[in-house]
């Protein structure tokens, strides 16, 4: 039984867009049921939300961290885009990410930071193509673990990308998508706001009330399919069974979405087509993310600014594109060819500006007395600490939001130990009592407790 959180009343949200061109949307409000402590009158809490926000190819570690620690930190050039939200952003510096093998630092780094384990190479890899196309996670990424903590919503998570990732030719997708549910099971990220819209709201008029006859028939079909799978289960090996079980979970989720009665729906905004500008497109996706949270359609969103290694084009940040040696190149190639020059720093600053856009949208969307940012934990990170010689020292970790009161006001924490502490801290900020995060040399039991209340 899913909790019904939608109340029969609507209000309006104006997205806090820098452009001022925000969509106006009808939203369910929960304040009627709010008591003074921020809890719901029925004893429940407002949902916790988690955002994983990832950029590829690291930063310029020597010029990243603010010069002072504690609250009131002064942004460096790279962090300038977060200035407006520095009271709600923790910059955690000084940790390291010990990656075991380093035959492929981008692939191994992303599995280490987001999965907490060493990367797994497919036993089917036999020198075909690039080895990172055959590398995968040993288990779920932090956003999937978070989805298990924050409870169910109609969509387990949303996976968004602000740039088109390099497609993997093999079974491994560690360089293509950040969010993974299991080995070889990515949550493919969507760049097109219209596709996200269609998935959340359907292509027709969103239904209010009882399911239609066809929706019930489709749900019955899925019931039969689930029964079909039972005969298979007993004869499979453990990894096949685990893989099938995750597929069946998705079928169950779809079945319950089809058969649920919707007492009050969010009024969706106008369906927006893909914007020509990356930055503008990112804003459209931010709006949809905020809406999906506000409507409690999902509680977890993974956003990739760029995929690990940043083998993607950025037409926007640099007026004429990134040019190195007379050619348009990806951020990855640029940093390899030029090292930590001003343009490389400017690139990271751009990533942070885009993250700032999302924080602004969440902070400008109120849910009763608090903003969605206050109810969220936003984890910002990357897969290497720098992109020119692939080191893993002074690893960049950002934790933003209020965690529904579990996170202290923003600060710069200079600390040490493992970068795995970032993920564990996020789980604690979401209310999990997880004792540890990670495995092998990435195992930690030590959250960054300075930022937790």
């Amino acid at each position: 039984m899913r909790p019904r959180r939608f109340l029969p009343r609507r209000t309006f949200l104006r997205g806090a867009l820098a452009t001022g061109a925000g969509a106006v949307v009808g939203l369910p409000v929960l304040d009627a049921m709010l008591d003074s402590g921020g809890a719901l009158a029925d004893g429940g809490r407002y949902p916790d939300r988690f955002v994983l926000w990832f950029w590829g190819n690291g930063n310029i570690p020597e010029e990243w961290a603010p010069s002072t620690t504690g609250p009131g930190w002064e942004p460096t050039e790279q962090l300038e885009g977060l200035r407006a939200f520095k009271d709600k952003v923790h910059v955690i510096s000084g940790t390291e990410l010990p990656v075991a093998n380093q035959s492929n630092p981008h692939a191994e780094g992303v599995v280490a930071i987001l999965g907490g384990t060493n990367a797994v190479t497919s036993p089917d890899y036999h020198n075909q193509g690039d080895n990172w196309d055959w590398m995968t996670y040993a288990g779920p990424t932090i956003d999937e673990v978070a989805a298990g903590v924050v409870g169910t919503a109609p969509f387990r998570s949303l996976s968004l990308t602000l740039t088109t990732p390099r497609e993997s030719l093999g079974p491994g997708t560690v360089i293509e998508y950040i969010s993974h549910r299991a080995p070889y099971l990515p949550n493919p990220a969507t760049r097109d706001p219209a596709a996200v819209f269609d998935r959340l709201f359907g292509t027709g008029t969103p239904r209010v009330g009882a399911p239609t006859r066809d929706e019930l028939a489709r749900a019955s079909v899925l019931d039969a399919v689930l029964a079909d799978a039972r005969s298979l289960d007993a004869r499979l090996g453990a990894s096949d069974r685990a893989r099938l079980e995750l597929h069946l979970d998705s079928i169950r989720d779809l079945e319950s979405r089809l058969s649920r009665t919707i007492t009050n729906a969010c009024t969706p905004p106008e369906r927006a087509e893909m914007a020509l500008s990356d930055r503008e497109n990112a804003r459209l996706l931010n709006e949809l993310a905020a809406l999906a949270f506000a409507c409690d359609l999902t509680r977890v969103i993974a956003v990739q600014m760029s995929s690990p290694a940043s083998l993607v084009d950025f037409p926007d940040p640099f007026p004429s594109g990134l040019v190195s040696r007379g050619q348009n190149v990806s951020y990855h190639v640029y940093v390899h060819e030029n090292g930590p020059d001003r343009t490389a720093i400017r690139g990271v600053a751009y990533f942070m500006e885009v993250l700032g856009d999302l924080l602004g949208t969440l902070d400008g969307t109120m849910e009763a007395d608090r903003s969605l940012l206050d109810r969220s934990v936003v984890f910002g990170t990357t897969e290497v600490s720098n992109g020119w010689d692939h080191r893993f020292y002074d690893f960049p970790l950002l934790i933003a939001g209020g965690g529904n009161g579990r996170l202290r006001p923003g600060s710069h924490v200079r600390t040490s130990g493992l970068a795995s502490r970032g993920a564990l801290t996020c789980l604690r900020a979401l209310g999990s009592d997880a004792a540890s995060w990670g495995a092998d040399q990435l195992y930690t039991t030590d959250p960054v407790s300075e930022i937790l209340t």
Partner: protein, 522 residues
Amino acid sequence: MRRATVVAFVLLATACSGLIDEPDHPSELAGAPGLRALSQTAYVSSVRAVLGDDVPVEPLGRWETSIAAARGGVSPELTEQYEASAMSTTAYVFDDPSRALALTGCVPSGEEDDACAREAIGRLGRRAFRRRLTDEELTRYLTLAHDVGEGDGWRGLRFATAGLLESPHFLYRVEIGDEGKATSLGDRFSDDEIAARLAFLLWNAPPDDALLDRVEQGALSTDEGVAAVVDSMLEDPRADAGRRRFFADLFQLDALRRVQKREEQFPEFDEALVLDMREQLVRTAVAAANDGGMRSVFTTRSTFLNRRLAEHFGIAGEFGEDMTRFELPPTDARAGVLTLPAFLTLQSYPASTGPALRGLFVRRDLLCQDIPPPPPGVSTVLPESSDMPMTARQALSGHQRSANCVACHSLMDPIGLALEHFDAVGHYRRFDHDLPIDPSGDLDGVPFEDAAGLGAAVGAHPRLMRCLTEAMYASGAGQRVAPESARALQRLLGKLDRDAFTLDDLFRAVATSDLFLYLEPS
């Protein structure tokens, strides 16, 4: 941690000083998958095998090759897409009375005991699951049809058919063997599973009704039976899809559609040309592989051209949209698929050729030799030639002077430098930066003068046959040859004529091998 670091260092230091043939890939996920998700093209052919060849269906899933699909999972989003596809494809058929009747051959009554529905679900179910439905399954889908049909027989049948297309028995190739058939060679796949393995390998499609009938008559229960079925399947026109798929996978041609080239430099590089390039390589390879044998794929001067490709090749003559066979003169710089633009374009950078990329492909994908990535901390940037123009050979000579680079690059660079007469989109060029190009070199002790000589050396290479065999097995079986199966692989290779084996010989040898028919051949 310390131990892992030491091991990694030793591997890097030795990897290219002697070639490592069997790299060790420790994994918690080893073992053959018993459930294999469908590649994009296999999904399309599977839906059409159930509903008919005219049904519009999207290639779903993110896997283009069957080996990439083998261990893949189905995400929530893909679950939604599979469901939507099942609903739209069944609507296409069942919303049109003539199409629906053509598929079922009878009119369902919608009654509880509907003989037409029973017959139709049984027949469509056998196509979908690649085996006869169990009584329990048949009852389940009949009940579903009755319940959701609410008296409308077509409606019920439509939703029941959608269910077949959403079932794990359809969306995965189930390969868990036949418990009753343990032999001295290990467990054999069930006859149904073997039929599906053969059909996806040889046709890139599931078994059809005729093949499923033969399976039920016991045609696959003996090795002789399998050989006879394989022969007749290779005669079927559908075998062309399997042949084409083999080369598309081997040369990673699916990647062509995402290749980008620098526009100012290659203004003619567009989607139509890319599709032509792809088609040309596939046709050239398939024709050579059966006419002259697999080794001739790397030496053939018989190719296919249309108007766009003839222009690309700088060949005058009357050419239309359709591709026709064309014999390049014996003196032409092009010979074999390594000199065709599809390969050359893929294994290049957006604005320049990639001699190391081209060499790496030959070593890894055609000769099954492991070349590790550059060691950590090594800059892969070659010195820039600002004032003095250099050929690629001169630029790459930097690799020979660096201890970090020389071991691996001396294996890759000479291969790629032999192809320097072909630029980043496969145009022929006489000069590089206005300097003459020297394409001569040496492949494992075999000297060559030019690209044609390189093709001959690759075609004659002693590792080629085994590597192509492993590639075919991997795409058919969805896993690479396990080290424990080395003897079964040797038995398979022993059946091939080393010099003259054709593509169909290779298909026949793989399809009838212990390696392919048994779960764990000893």
